[in-house]
């Protein structure tokens, strides 16, 4: 029995392309493999000839010819039935493995006995023979995977588990891998990622790699695969198309109508926004009451004493008995103010909100609740825009220092491989708008008062993740955040010291980024090779 069985359904590839594919397997530095090739009744005579040639040369090439063309799923299933290996690997008949592909996977498989699924980075092979458009992926990110089939190639799964979940299924043509990997990862004990390019995806004229519109049915099959996954796993959700082909939105239904305690620390200050003077806390509460749709909220305003004249009256008029005023009379400490507000909260969920916000999407609270009701999700962040429409927050990125991902980019920027269009796991979110489970807030002790002004949300996020919980970010909950574009943040050196002492390692190893990107940047720029 081989360690790895490589599965390749074959149907009429050009001869040179097929030979290149087979050679990339033959040249693997890791030798314990078998290549299960199923000729799906190709019409081109060279296909059988080339396959027989390789099978005669090396017994590890196992060839089966189908009597009639059955399509990629039937051929893939036949290849799976030929396989005897501990793991199966998916390789298309026109693609290439790097020579160290199996070696790199086995480095992980040999040290992680519970490994059930592994994937790697990939790039594309252009028609003129260049390796282009590398896709450097995050570590396992199940929410992103529900939004996008990002694991792609090179995919390796434990064979027993693939058989247990039913192998390749008909009805998902074009997205059969997505459907299979969804089912495998639902049951996988360990999912790992190799942050190296192990697979070259050849760009053919009809290939999805070349043209996102080439196979619209594949995207529809993908949407159905995610819907099935939600149904199977008990997620009450509707899956709809996202903003670009191949990206999906999982719209969850909320269970019950949990009370959300909205905690807003404020000084009651005002400034000019969009040409008019604005008392931030009043307008934030107005926005919550008049624009946001979710009504089961209490609004806890933690106000520096004394409040500017008329502010409390306006708040009471807007929010009525949903409003609680908590007075704060000590020197400024954002963490203490939020902790004080949290101590007065009675909801099972708490929405920490800055006062300088305005709601843009009326269902933003429902969207965030839908995500936080996933069992191991502790906190959910939103998409925040500056007054001029640029991105202020799209999740934290810990790239040797903490950053807001794609800070200052256009609001509709998609980011690397559409990362900004996907609901996804993130290392942290800003406390300017964060929905958090009260039980987990208490478990980690809320915000750290030693971090009075800066990094308190980074610290909170890392505390939460250190406990094993997930943090999600959604592009479908949008608010304006009128943080000054010209403000130069004053970083307290003591706060920086606390952060570095506590979190030196996680700040340099963001699992939702990739070591192939340049450090100390908020965007995804490739490192020099």
């Amino acid at each position: 029995m081989a360690r790895y069985s490589i599965l390749t359904p074959v149907y009429d590839p050009p001869e040179d392309v097929l030979r290149a594919c087979l050679e990339s397997v033959a040249r693997q530095t890791f030798q314990d493999w078998e290549h299960c090739l199923v000729d799906d009744a190709s019409t081109q005579p060279h296909v059988a000839r080339v396959l027989e040639e390789y099978a005669a040369k090396d017994r590890r090439f196992k060839v089966k010819r189908r009597a009639a063309n059955g399509g990629i799923i039937a051929a893939s299933q036949d290849a799976l039935e030929l396989a005897t290996g501990e793991f199966v690997c998916l390789l298309d008949h026109d693609d290439l493995l790097t020579k160290d592909a199996l070696f790199e996977v086995d480095l992980i498989a040999s040290t992680d006995p519970s490994l059930d699924y592994c994937y790697s980075d990939e790039d594309y092979l252009s028609p003129d023979g260049k390796f282009i458009n590398p896709f450097h992926k995050p570590d396992w990110s199940p929410e992103r995977f529900r939004s996008q089939m990002y694991t792609g190639h090179f995919s390796v799964a434990r064979r027993d588990l693939v058989i247990e979940v039913g192998g390749f299924r008909t009805g998902y043509e074009g997205s059969q891998d997505y459907d299979l990997v969804l089912r495998v990862t639902e049951k996988a004990r360990s999912v790992r990622h190799v942050a190296k390019i192990l697979y070259h995806w050849r760009m053919m004229p009809e290939s999805v790699a070349q043209n996102a519109e080439a196979k619209p049915w594949a995207y529809e099959a993908g949407r159905r695969a995610v819907q099935d996954h939600c149904d199977r796993t008990g997620r009450r959700a509707t899956v709809v198309d996202g903003v670009v082909p191949g990206v999906y939105r999982v719209q969850r239904e909320i269970e019950g109508e949990p009370l959300v305690s909205v905690v807003i620390p404020t000084r009651g200050s005002s400034a000019r926004v969009w040409g008019v003077e604005r008392c931030f806390i009043v307008e934030a509460v107005r926005s919550l009451v008049e624009r946001a749709r979710y009504t089961n909220i209490e609004i806890i305003v933690v106000m520096d004493a004394p409040a500017p004249a008329g502010v409390i009256e306006k708040l009471e008029r807007l929010a009525g008995d949903r409003l609680k005023i908590v007075w704060y009379d000590k020197p400024f400490n954002f963490s203490e103010k939020v902790n004080l507000g949290a101590a007065h909260a009675s909801g099972e969920l708490m929405l920490v909100l800055n006062d300088d916000i305005e709601v843009e999407t009326p269902d933003f609270i429902e969207t965030m609740i839908g995500l936080i009701q996933e069992g191991d999700v502790a906190m959910v962040g939103a998409k925040l825009l500056f007054a001029d429409g640029r991105l202020q927050h799209a999740g934290h990125l810990y790239n040797h220092d903490p950053f807001h991902a794609y800070f200052g980019y256009p609001a509709n920027h998609l980011g690397e491989s559409s990362v900004l269009a996907c609901q996804r796991e993130t290392s942290g979110v800003t406390a300017a708008c964060a929905l958090v489970k009260m039980s987990i807030w208490n478990e980690v002790g809320g915000l750290t008062p030693e971090l009075a002004a800066n990094f308190n949300d980074v610290d909170l996020s890392l505390k939460i993740r250190a406990k094993g919980y997930r943090i999600l970010w959604t592009p479908y909950a949008v608010l304006y955040h009128f943080e000054s574009m010209t403000r130069i943040p004053t970083v307290n050196l003591d706060e920086l010291k606390v952060m570095r002492e506590r979190w030196a390692t996680p700040l340099k190893n963001d699992p939702y980024h990739n070591p192939n990107f340049e450090p100390l940047r908020d965007d995804w720029v490739l490192r020099s090779r």
Binding site: G275, V525, L526
Partner: protein, 100 residues
């Protein structure tokens, strides 16, 4: 049960919402003068000005965002250029070392 009497108003009564609203109307009348339509037209002007400010901010933001995108692309291009130069220089250095 005897009918309860209406609460009597007195000089010490708290101002009601109606009182507050009346005071606001008086204040606004003083602000806009005797022409009541002027208040509406001023409001419309304010909304239009706000829309203009909003539109201008968004247009400026779009341009600033594009600049950020271009800066990212430039950083990538510079990294690629440095890599390419290094690829050319490395064999040159080896050749020079052999020739020495």
């Amino acid at each position: 049960m005897p009918p309860t009497s209406e609460p009597s108003t007195s000089d010490t009564a708290q101002p009601t919402d109606a009182d507050a609203l009346q005071a606001e109307v008086t204040r606004l009348r003083e602000l806009v003068g005797p022409d009541e339509a002027a208040y509406t037209s001023l409001k419309i002007e304010l909304w239009a000005a706000r829309d203009s400010a909003f539109g201008a901010e968004m247009a400026a933001g779009e341009l600033r965002g594009q600049v950020k995108v271009l800066e990212g692309q430039l950083a990538q291009a510079n990294r690629n250029r440095r890599w390419m130069v290094e690829r050319i220089k490395a064999p040159l250095r080896r050749v020079k070392a052999i020739l020495r």
